[in-house]
Amino acid sequence: MDTRADLWIEGGKIRHCSPQQAEIGRETEVINADNLTVMPGLFDMHVHLREPGHEHKETIRTGTLAAANGGFTGVVCMPNTEPAIDSRMTVEYIQRRASNGAVDAHCCAAITKARAGKELAPLLDLMESGAVMYSDDGGCVESAEMMRRAFDYVAEFDLLLTQHCEEHSLTRNFAVNEGEMSAKMGLKGYPAVAEDIIVARDILLADYCGNRRYHGAHISTAGAVRLFREAKNRGQRVSCEVAPHHFILDESTVQGFNVNAKMNPPLRTRRDIEAILQGLADGSIDCIATDHAPHALHEKNVEFSLAANGIIGLETSLGLSLTYLYHTGVASLSRIVELMSVNPRRVLNLPQPLIASGEPANLTFVDVNKEWVVSPELFCTKSLNTPFDGYILKGLPVMTINRGIVTECKLT
């Protein structure tokens, strides 16, 4: 990122990467990338591609097209599909459906069968079929005993467990964060402490079970940031991710019963946002992940409490991160690359794409200073549920190259 260089890519490989001009032939297409920054392909470790089972919201095809359009070359599909990703068959189905696309689609498999919390899924068989981590995402493994059993069962293989951290007994029928908005709007609240309790429980369990690997999904509270920071300082092998909406929007966004500001975990307070920004800057938080959660209009445009939780995120993540982290001085450009490319793959033990001669080309080209207006009608995702419609962002993905496929990002 700090170097200016000529890149020559052929047959999906980087042939030449040097400040010296490449000696190219006449047929070679030259892309003037003078004002562009080349990053190792961005990676989103938390997306809901909805297939199999909910193809009216998104399919693996539309979801991976959206990922590439947003500048990503790799994603992890969460397991709350129908059926859940709890068998070799489903993992292989998803891998097959994604095999021709420009995006590497990995699977996060369920921890328990059908994500029901009653019995462990075949975790080792899932490992052999290629699952990269495990979670009952969409919900939390409620029983501490079940979570402990999962840590113990995969210990010898050092597999990664990740959690949607929510103490369900405190969040029943919630619609928004518990706080001023829930008090004013008469909506059932989700107290921040319900997230913190599970983060604390799991960190203690991971330690007790022999310093197991553990990853907190889409954390949203100041308490969770503090708990991860402290666990890391104690030498625990834990990591966590945050979604762009949780470092940009606060709970007041739900005013007027805005269903596109309804998600799980809910938007929190300014204080939580400050803590998350601090965590992003100091390394307590490892990754940015979108929690891309497409829903059809008829599932969103209903009574607020009944509206489906979640927003789309793949095509706004980079623009939002550059606008609200890089251009505000919270994070340097190389820190953005860590958060959106290097760290997700490190947490998952996946190989890192290198920008060097002889390496496969797995790249994202970014115009970090380009201003653009978020226009959901240009998105590749099937759904429109975003609170960022009409936002003016600074920083735009321009192109990705992966698996020999060049994708031009068309967000403007």
Partner: protein, 321 residues
């Protein structure tokens, strides 16, 4: 006198900012008082007389109660009829809708038959606002979830405004009981504060919102403490399911600590007592206190029709111009 009424409605419609009445939030003191003056006219002209007006003539009012109600429904229906509207009422439980038709489908279907004004009660906070965003009709919120019940708030304040001859500023009003689940409390706090009243509340900790300071009311430990401070007390109905749901321990003296009894009332000669109804006698208020001259519970019901007539007149006038 009729010209005077027209003049008051025209004036109120000019300063009233919204097309609907969805929430008490954002209503200014001038807007509120201009509605009160119209309501006062209706009360003084004999609310119990059979005088019909033609202010809503030719308008179709849909009275849609997705949650059961007796008094609010009848109050709105009478108000609309006395203004000359055609009223079509339907009751549907949210659960029967959940079987098939969505709320917005129901709305579109009925609008296709021709409707001008909707009066809606719904069990979900925000449901009326959702409907108003998806239709060209006028909407009156007759209670949405725990969110708002603006006409109840207006009629409560109107009742106090009449009793206090328009002098609301500096008066102290407390609300006692289940604040957390109460749309009445949420509307009343906003309106009372806009009219210059100080507000207080008393309730068990499990029936108060976590971030209660945002409501702008100070807290008291008991109805006794609150009522000694206050000029008026609004008691809220305690739903049985709150106790059954474990939010209150059994036999822990709710009535004694948070209720109104005649022995307490004896020591409070200047207190005015309100209750949106229906009353659980012996829980929030005992029968003697409810019948006492300091109680305005019946007056509230009468005023309810007048306030709803006033709001409907203003919204119809606004629609026409």
């Amino acid at each position: 006198m009729a010209n005077n009424l027209d003049e008051m409605i025209r004036h109120a419609a000019e300063i009233y900012r919204s097309r609907h009445l969805l929430t008490a939030e954002g209503l200014g003191a001038e807007e509120i008082v201009s509605i009160f003056k119209i309501a006062e006219y209706f009360v003084e002209q004999g609310i119990n007389g059979r005088k019909r007006h033609d202010i809503l003539r030719g308008m179709t009012v849909i009275s849609a109660f997705f949650e059961t109600s007796t008094r609010t429904k009848i109050s709105f229906d009478l108000a609309a009829r006395r203004l000359g509207a055609d009223v079509t009422a339907f009751q549907a439980t949210a659960s029967s809708l959940a079987k098939g038709e969505s709320l917005l489908d129901t709305l579109a279907t009925i609008n296709a038959m021709g409707a001008d004004m909707w009066v809606v009660r719904h069990s979900q906070s925000g449901a009326v606002e959702l409907m108003s965003r998806n239709s060209d009709c006028i909407f009156l919120n007759a209670g949405d979830g725990r969110h708002q019940h603006p006409t109840q708030g207006l009629l409560d304040c109107f009742t106090l405004w009449r009793r206090w001859k328009g002098e609301m500023s500096g008066k102290r009003v407390c609300i006692i009981g289940d604040i957390e689940h109460s749309r009445v409390a949420r509307s009343n706090f906003l309106l009372l504060q806009t009219l210059g009243c100080e507000t207080g509340m008393a309730a068990p900790g499990t029936l108060i919102p976590h971030s209660w300071p945002i409501l702008g009311a100070r807290r008291f430990l008991s109805s006794k403490e609150a009522c000694e401070w206050a000029d008026a007390a609004i008691f809220l109905r305690l739903q049985k399911e709150r106790m059954e749901g474990g939010l209150l321990p059994a036999n822990d003296g709710f009535a004694k600590r948070y209720g109104m009894t005649c022995s307490l009332l004896q020591k409070l000669p200047h207190l005015t007592i309100l209750h949106p109804g229906p009353v659980n006698y012996g829980v929030e208020i005992d029968a003697e206190s409810a019948a006492d001259k300091r109680s305005v519970i019946r007056e509230q019901v009468t005023n309810g029709v007048a306030v709803r007539m006033a709001v409907m007149s203003v919204l119809a006038q606004k629609q026409r111009h």
